[in-house]
């Protein structure tokens, strides 16, 4: 069973005061997310990522289409006991303490009374907020609020978790922690669906990604597949500051940084390069095949979409 099946979900808004003009926020979207994977939903700002999430959460009603979450209709309220949601830049009842807030959410999610305090404590521990559990949320920093957001999303041990821009507002340590958490969730057998515009995060974490732009899906697939349109290049790094003539002859692009040189050569010339270095008695540090970065794929897809579509509307 797929964790998420989006069947033609579509949203058109009517904007304007006197005359209403339709504005397409999401074109009919067809997407499937498998059980147990970390799925990245990528796109620039305003692409329709948050709209999709809001549609799935039932906060906004689709113009057409439907979806199934964990095999049930997305409007079924009981499904929500198995789902966690972290909205973008979340805001919580700031008159409550972290403990009270999570307790409230646990109550609403139907966590049994006996279990509640244990779960809340464990979750607070997990997101690193145990020390401030009695502090009112109005005193929390942005990063702390983000952690609270994550906490309330996983508190009731849901099978499927939705994160909207989970890394926003976090410092590098925080981001690392969130990434680790997401991997842990995957190890626990949960499915994670998260939207972001930061591609390096997606590249590092996701099994599969989808790219959305101006409400339209531009590409879906496993990260390796998308980035394995390998340029056929190889990166060679060696100690020293010299660039042997033989390397230059291979047509390599060389960059000297500090005490290493980095050169990019064709895959076919791999062996010739190694020989060249050995002849010159230069110490080889690394030899790495280069993959298209997700970023390049992303930019490519967007650019192509724009040229085929003509004007950008």
């Amino acid at each position: 069973m797929s964790a998420i099946e989006i069947l033609g979900l579509e949203k058109t808004y009517l904007v304007g005061f006197w005359t209403k003009r339709p504005k397409r926020a999401l074109c009919p979207l067809h997407l499937t997310v498998e059980d147990g994977e970390i799925f990245g939903f990528l796109g620039p700002n305003g692409a329709g990522k948050t709209t999709t999430l809001k549609l799935l959460m039932g906060l906004v009603f689709p113009t057409a289409g439907s979806a199934r979450l964990l095999g049930k209709e997305w409007t079924d309220p009981e499904v929500k006991t198995q789902i966690g949601f972290l909205p973008e830049q979340p805001y919580f009842y700031d008159h409550l303490t972290a403990n009270e807030l999570l307790n409230y959410y646990a109550q609403l999610s139907g966590v049994a009374a006996k279990e509640r305090s244990r779960r809340v404590a464990a979750t607070l521990e997990r997101v690193g907020l145990k020390e401030v559990e009695g502090v009112q949320l109005r005193k929390f920093s942005k990063g702390m609020l983000q952690r609270v957001g994550i906490a309330q999303a996983i508190l009731h041990d849901p099978k499927l978790v939705f994160f909207d821009e989970p890394m926003s507002g976090l410092d590098p340590i925080g981001r690392r922690e969130v990434r680790d958490l997401m991997e842990q969730l995957k190890h626990e057998g949960k499915t994670v669906f998260f939207s972001t515009h930061i591609l390096s995060d997606a590249e590092a974490l996701c099994d599969r990604v989808a790219i959305i732009h101006q409400g339209e899906l531009r590409g879906v697939g496993a990260v390796e597949d998308l980035t394995s349109s390998v340029q056929g290049k190889v990166e060679v790094i060696w100690l020293g500051t010299q660039v042997p003539a033989s390397m230059k002859a291979l047509g390599a692009e060389c960059h000297i940084t500090g005490d290493t040189v980095r050169a990019i050569i064709d895959e076919s010339q791999q062996d010739a390069a190694i020989d060249a270095l050995r002849r010159e008695r230069l110490r080889l540090v690394a030899l790495t095949p280069m993959r298209t970065s997700l970023e390049a794929y992303f930019v490519e897809k967007l650019r192509r979409a724009e040229t085929t579509a003509g004007s950008t509307k």
């Binding site: 009603f61 409007t75 079924d76 309220p77």
Partner: protein
């Protein structure tokens, strides 16, 4: 879809509760009409109310005045015979706005007369008039109203004359005030004087109820006068012939009247076998004092419709 089901249930609940609320209000109004008005009985000090109204006393005066009119009109229409909230309503209205002249007029016409035609509180009406005069000394109509109450309800012709005289001294007073003052002295109890008063009231008021009331009184005066004269004719006939006339036609003939006398509605007067002159439909003349069958109690309803 769950949302649709919830919407339908909510819509149905809305419709049902709305229906019940409206039905309850209709029932409430029928069973306890104007019940909220009773609170006027417990406003011990209109002055406090005036202060509490935070400067909106004009508006509040209008509200209480409108309530007074509705209160009286409603009860009058339903044939009620008591109007014990009228005095407090008028008093509060005039305390809030002492220049509400029409309220004093209303008091003179409906506070003073005895039930079922009014609240039967002539003293209170007098006090109201005096308060009105105190606050509006240049309004001749208030002196007229004061005199009116003395004349109509208390039959105190001396004080009535005083009031009319005071009023006649006000600049721009209507000339008939001087006339009325003079009439009081000698012709107080006559039909013509009463007719003059009611015509004056009719002409000088804008209020629908007051005018209708005046019209009814004029009609009654007409009947009273007619019946008096006809009754005198019957007596004369009796003296001449030693018996009662057999019918109105015979009496008309004997008196050389142009035709059978009719009342203001055009119905001929009756002559009973006992020799009494009566109107055909007594109910149409609630204020008539003559020409009514013995033991007849008038209903305080207005017959004529003021256009």
């Amino acid at each position: 879809m769950n949302r649709r089901r919830a919407s339908i249930i909510a819509g149905v609940c809305l419709a049902i509760s709305l229906a019940f609320s409206v039905v309850l209000l209709i029932y409430c109004d029928r069973v306890r009409p104007q019940s909220a008005l009773e609170e006027v009985l417990y406003i011990s000090s209109p002055k406090v109310l005036k202060r509490a109204s935070l400067g909106y006393d004009g508006l509040l005066a209008d509200i209480y005045w409108t309530r007074a009119v509705q209160y009286f009109g409603f009860r009058h229409h339903n044939g009620e015979s008591s109007y014990n909230l009228l005095a407090p309503l008028l008093e509060i209205s005039t305390q809030l706005d002492p220049h509400l002249v029409v309220a004093y007029e209303f008091g003179a016409n409906f506070l003073a007369p005895a039930p079922p035609h009014g609240a039967g509180q002539p003293e209170r009406a007098i006090r109201l008039m005096e308060f009105g005069i105190q606050n509006n000394p240049a309004d001749w109509k208030l002196y007229y109203d004061l005199g009116f109450v003395y004349y109509m309800e208390l039959q105190d012709y001396g004080k009535a004359a005083d009031a009319f005289a005071r009023g006649s001294k006000v600049p721009n007073a209507h000339p008939f005030l001087r006339l009325l003052a003079a009439q009081m002295a000698e012709h107080a109890g006559e039909f013509d004087t009463a007719r003059m008063m009611w015509s004056a009231t009719y002409q000088n008021s804008q209020d629908k109820l007051i005018r209708q009331n005046a019209v009814e009184h004029l009609r009654a005066l007409h009947v009273d006068e007619d019946v008096t004269h006809l009754q005198e004719a019957v007596s004369r006939f009796g003296e001449r012939t030693g018996r009662l006339p057999a019918s109105m036609a015979e009496l008309a003939n004997a008196e050389s009247l142009p035709g059978i006398p009719v009342d203001p509605d055009g119905h001929p007067y009756k002559l009973t076998p006992e020799g009494r002159v009566e109107v055909r439909v007594p109910d149409d003349f609630p204020f008539a004092t003559k020409g009514l069958p013995p033991g007849f109690k008038p209903q305080p309803k207005f017959h004529s419709q003021e256009q």
